[in-house]
C-alpha cells in the first residue's frame, strides 16, 4: 500500500533513528543508509513545515486583512459567507 507519509510519522521515524544512533545500535555497515534516510526525513519535514507555513501565512494574512472591528465596514463580497457557513 502506497500512501503519502505524514509529518508525524516522519518525525517519529527520525526520532527513532536518532535514538538508535545515540544508543549505538547502528553499526558502521548501516550508518550511511540510516543517515541517508534521516536526511530524507529531515528534508521531507522541512518541506512539510515550509508548505504548512506558507499556507498558514496566507490564511492568516487574509484574516488580518479583514478589518479589526466589524463596524469599520466589511468588504461587500463577504456578506454571503455567514449564510454559506453551515455545519
Amino acid at each position: 500500500m502506497t500512501k503519502k507519509m505524514l509529518y508525524a510519522e516522519a518525525y517519529e521515524e527520525l526520532q527513532l533513528l536518532v535514538s538508535e544512533l545515540e544508543n549505538g545500535e547502528i553499526t558502521v555497515d548501516e550508518l550511511a543508509d540510516k543517515v541517508k534516510r534521516a536526511a530524507q526525513l529531515i528534508r521531507f519535514c522541512k518541506e512539510k513545515l515550509h508548505s504548512t507555513e506558507l499556507e498558514v501565512n496566507m490564511v492568516l494574512k487574509e484574516l488580518g486583512d479583514t478589518p479589526k472591528t466589524a463596524s469599520e465596514g466589511l468588504p461587500e463580497d463577504r456578506g454571503g459567507l455567514s449564510s454559506d457557513f453551515e455545519t
Binding site: 509529518y7 518525525y11 527520525l14 526520532q15 533513528l17 536518532v18 544512533l21 545515540e22 549505538g24 547502528i26 558502521v28 550508518l31 543517515v35 534521516a38 536526511a39 529531515i42 519535514c45 522541512k46 513545515l49 504548512t52 507555513e53 498558514v56 492568516l60 484574516l63 488580518g64 479589526k68 472591528t69 466589524a70
Partner: protein, 466 residues
C-alpha cells in the same frame, strides 16, 4: 298634711314624691362617680339638653338601667373636652365614667344628672373597643386580607370614595394632575359621607357599588381631608373594616389625622397619612417604573459593549491562534534542526570512536605480536642456556669419575704395595695366603719390591698357635 282614710294615713302622690326627694336629698348630699354604658345620648337639638339612657350589662343582658340628664351647658363643655381628648364627640355605646348626682323629679322620676365625663377613661374604652374590633377581625380571619391583594404596578384606574367637596380630594387630584412627568391616572368618584353616624354605612354601600364594577379599576382609594381629627369613628366600625378586608380590589386610604391609626387604615392595603401623601405614593410607583424603563433603555446600549467585548475576545483569540500557530511551526523547525545537528554530531562521534577502536586494535596487534616474538625468543635462549650450561659440568663429572677410578686402580698395583714393605711368598708358583699345605722344609720363593729371596720353611705355626 296627710289625710286619714279608713284609719289609714293616705299620702298624695306629690307628698310621696316630695318625701322620696327629701329622703334622697338628705341621703345623697354630694355628687359621685358612676361607671355605666351610655346606651342612648338622646340629644335634643332644640333645648340642647341630653337625656342619656345608662345601662349596665352582664353577659349580654341588662342588669341595671337608669335615665340621666345632661344640661345643655354641661353637654357643651363635656363634649368639648371629650373631643379634645379622644378625637371624637360623645357617642353612644361605650362605657364611661360619669360624675353625677341623683335627681328626683315628681314628674320625671329618678334620674342621674351628669356633671362631667372623664374623657381619659372614655379614651381607654374607645381603644379597648377598637382592639375588640381588631380581635374580632382576626378571629374571623379577615385582618390583613386586603393587604394580600396585589396592587398593580401602575395604579391607573382608581375608584375614589370621598366627598366631592373634600379639600383632601382636591389636594389628591392636584398632586396627580401636576405630576411633571404627565403620568395618566384615571379617577372616578363614588361620593360618600366620611363622618357622622351614617358615614360607615355609606362608605360600605359605595364599596359594594365599586365591587360590582371592580374589573374596571386597579384599586379603591378612601380619601378624607386633613385638619379635623374629629369624626373618625366610622373608620373603626367593624362592618366597614370587614368589608374592606374582603374587598376584591386593594383599598388605599388617604385619611388625614394626627391620632392613632383607625382600624380601616390598619386593614387597608396601603395607607397614607394624608391624601397628598397617597397621591405621591401612587406617583412614586409610576416614577419607579419610569426610571426602570429609562434604565432598561440605557442598559440596552450595554449590548453594544457586549459586542465590543466579544469583538475584542475574538481579536485576542485570533492573535493567540496566530502566535501559537507560528510558534508551533517554529518549534517543529527547531526540533528538526536539533535532530539534524544531533545526527551530524552522533554519526561523526560514532565514526571517530570506531576509528579510535581500530587504531587501538592496530596498536595492540603491533605490541602483542612483537611481545609474542620477544617472549618466544627469550624462552628459547633460556632453554639454550639451560642445555649448554650443563654440558661442561656433565663432562667434568665424567672426568672426575674416571680419575677416581684410575686412582683406585693405581693404589691396587702390586708394585706399589711391595714398595711399602710388603712381600709375596710363593710356594710351588702360587702365592701363599696360609700355612695349611706347607711343610717344614718347603722351599719358599719370596718376592720383594726390589729383588727375590729363596728360603725354606723352618718352623710352621698355625695362626691360633702364635
Amino acid at each position: 298634711m296627710s289625710e286619714i282614710i279608713n284609719g289609714n294615713p293616705v299620702f298624695s302622690l306629690k307628698e310621696v314624691a316630695e318625701s322620696i326627694k327629701r329622703t334622697l336629698q338628705t341621703r345623697y348630699t354630694s355628687a359621685f362617680w358612676v361607671r355605666a354604658e351610655m346606651n342612648r345620648l338622646n340629644f335634643y337639638r332644640l333645648s340642647g339638653h341630653c337625656y342619656p339612657d345608662l345601662v349596665q350589662k352582664s353577659e349580654g343582658s341588662v342588669i341595671a338601667q337608669m335615665r340621666a340628664v345632661m344640661w345643655s351647658s354641661d353637654y357643651q363643655r363635656i363634649n368639648r373636652n371629650f373631643v379634645q381628648t379622644t378625637g371624637e364627640p360623645l357617642r353612644e355605646g361605650i362605657t364611661m365614667l360619669f360624675q353625677a348626682s341623683i335627681q328626683f323629679d315628681a314628674n320625671h322620676g329618678l334620674s342621674l344628672q351628669i356633671h362631667d365625663i372623664d374623657p381619659v377613661y372614655a379614651l381607654g374604652e374607645l381603644e379597648r373597643e377598637k382592639l375588640e374590633t381588631i380581635q374580632k377581625l382576626k378571629v374571623e380571619r379577615l385582618f390583613g386580607l386586603n393587604a394580600q391583594k396585589s396592587l398593580p404596578l401602575l395604579v391607573k384606574r382608581l375608584a375614589i370614595v370621598s366627598v366631592s367637596t373634600s379639600k383632601g380630594l382636591a389636594d389628591f387630584e392636584q398632586v396627580l394632575r401636576e405630576s411633571k412627568s404627565g403620568y395618566q391616572v384615571d379617577l372616578m368618584l363614588f361620593p360618600s359621607l366620611l363622618q357622622g353616624e351614617k358615614a360607615a354605612l355609606q362608605i360600605e354601600r359605595q364599596l359594594e357599588c365599586i365591587a360590582s364594577v371592580a374589573h374596571h379599576f386597579d384599586a379603591v382609594a378612601i380619601i378624607r381631608g386633613g385638619g379635623s381629627d374629629v369624626g373618625l369613628t366610622a373608620f373603626n366600625d367593624f362592618r366597614l373594616a370587614s368589608a374592606i378586608c374582603r374587598f376584591p380590589l386593594p383599598v388605599l386610604t388617604g385619611i388625614g389625622h394626627a391620632t392613632n391609626l383607625t382600624v380601616v387604615e390598619m386593614v387597608a392595603h396601603t395607607h397614607a397619612i394624608t391624601p397628598t401623601k397617597l397621591a405621591e405614593i401612587i406617583l412614586q410607583r409610576f416614577e419607579i417604573v419610569d426610571v426602570g424603563l429609562d434604565r432598561a433603555a440605557k442598559i440596552l446600549t450595554k449590548s453594544l459593549q457586549q459586542i465590543r467585548l466579544e469583538q475584542h475576545r475574538l481579536e485576542t483569540v485570533s492573535l493567540n491562534m496566530k502566535g501559537l500557530t507560528l510558534s508551533e511551526i517554529m518549534l517543529n523547525r527547531n526540533r528538526i534542526m536539533d535532530k539534524m545537528l544531533e545526527i551530524r554530531f552522533i554519526s561523526r562521534q560514532h565514526m571517530h570512536h570506531e576509528n579510535n577502536r581500530l587504531g587501538q586494535m592496530q596498536t595492540n596487534l603491533e605490541s602483542k605480536s612483537g611481545y609474542q616474538i620477544w617472549q618466544t625468543a627469550s624462552l628459547l635462549s633460556q632453554k639454550e642456556n639451560d642445555f649448554f650450561k650443563q654440558i661442561p659440568a656433565f663432562l667434568v663429572q665424567k672426568f672426575v669419575d674416571i680419575d677416581h677410578v684410575e686412582r683406585l686402580i693405581e693404589l691396587s698395583r702390586p708394585e706399589k704395595i711391595l714398595k711399602r714393605g710388603f712381600s709375596i711368598v710363593y710356594h710351588n708358583g702360587r702365592a701363599l695366603t696360609d700355612v695349611d699345605q706347607l711343610h717344614q722344609g718347603d722351599t719358599l720363593d719370596i718376592r720383594l719390591a726390589e729383588g727375590r729371596v729363596v728360603a725354606s720353611a723352618t718352623e710352621i705355626y698355625e695362626t691360633n698357635q702364635e
